[in-house]
Symmetry: C2
Subunit: 191 residues, 2 copies
DNA sequence: AAATAGTATTGACCTATATCAATCAAACCA
DNA sequence: TGGTTTGATTGATATAGGTCAATACTATTT
């Protein structure tokens, strides 16, 4: 159950067997079906979810009912509304499963306690958050400075797995463009 | 010199006098004039800069020579190209002073050593990075889902200090719109 | 296997925002 | 202090990408 998890952790920090066993106690496994919600708007995000298997997405829905993709997470990645989770405020997001998935959940109390009892996990999350900042910053610059076509080409070059795994209408939303525009861009690139 | 710094740190974690004295040894103060560069594209970002006083900006410049504002930092905030700093790769950003500023600089080695020797600073940065993720995510959603006018209204509501302190052409760039469009939005809102 | 729902493509048209250019206002500095 | 650079406003025009609608394609369900 924790194979993917600890292989990810070990990519970033050194962790002993003993520490691993302690860390395990803070998590509970959960299976989630396709289209099932992990979080709905208005609810507090009570867990960080690590994806052992499968595929999740997070998104917001505006007044017109349009969905805006925020993140995708598959094997080896985390998913949560970090704002809601940390501030214990109602979320403005939805999180659901694009594919049937296996998750490891940790609660807010569990998270805080784990970081204090296992300092190496404090370090792991600091590094994780650093990386997250970097990738968000990249995406932000792209959304500010690039045309729709440039954004798609960058995604293809830098995150081909995402383009493979995720339906096009969701990719369009992730890039902040319409599915029609993405379809036209693809045609233009291919011909 | 460290007044603003430790008041910020104490907002997030408990830190002893002893720890404070140790932390101080990792930083060096630096004064920087208006328009002076702290970082130029192609150089590795060798320091995290804490702003004790003044105002900095970071921005990228595209092939057409257009500047895209990434961040602003004034009293109590950090500034760096975190990607370049952490990965020790050449930066794609510029950082310069909008106003004459007083900074506290810490090198990469200093940073790593400080986090290991003063675990409470590991915690401080984990929290700092958390908050950074949250604000970047907010900005990202706005850039994807909101119109130019909505983005400006949100900025006014949520970051009025930024709107006060920063020239309009830079605010426009920060929002990913042109100065002309921002000017028109302001007129529309006011009348 | 048919029926249904979801997803992608294409075309016609529209609108928000960019671009270009001129003027105006303010800030800097020699 | 007047001249020069820098930033803001306004107008005219162009365009990338959105919207709406029809059709085609692909999965999923019964």
């Amino acid at each position: 159950m924790f194979e993917v998890f600890f292989s990810q952790v070990k990519d970033k920090v050194l962790i002993s067997e003993q520490e691993q066993n302690l860390v395990k106690t803070f998590f509970s496994p959960k299976k989630i079906r396709k289209k099932q919600y992990l979080l709905q708007e208005g609810d507090v995000c009570k867990h960080l979810a690590f994806v052992e298997k499968g595929l999740l997405r997070s998104y917001s829905v505006d007044e017109k009912g349009t969905e805006h993709m925020i993140h995708f997470a598959w094997e080896g990645w985390w998913m949560a509304d970090i704002l809601s989770f940390l501030s214990v405020e109602p979320s403005t997001y939805f999180i659901d499963a694009i594919e049937e998935s296996e998750l490891l959940l940790i609660s807010f109390q569990g998270f805080e306690e784990m970081l204090l009892k296992v300092p190496v996990m404090e370090r792991y999350f600091r590094i994780l958050f650093q990386n997250n900042i970097i990738s968000k910053e990249r995406r932000l610059i792209q959304s500010l400075a690039y045309s729709a076509e440039e954004k798609y080409l960058h995604l293809l070059a830098n995150n081909p797995k995402l383009v493979q795994k995720i339906p096009q209408n969701l990719i369009a939303s992730y890039l902040g463009i319409t599915p029609e525009t993405l379809s036209r861009i693809k045609r233009k690139i291919t011909q």
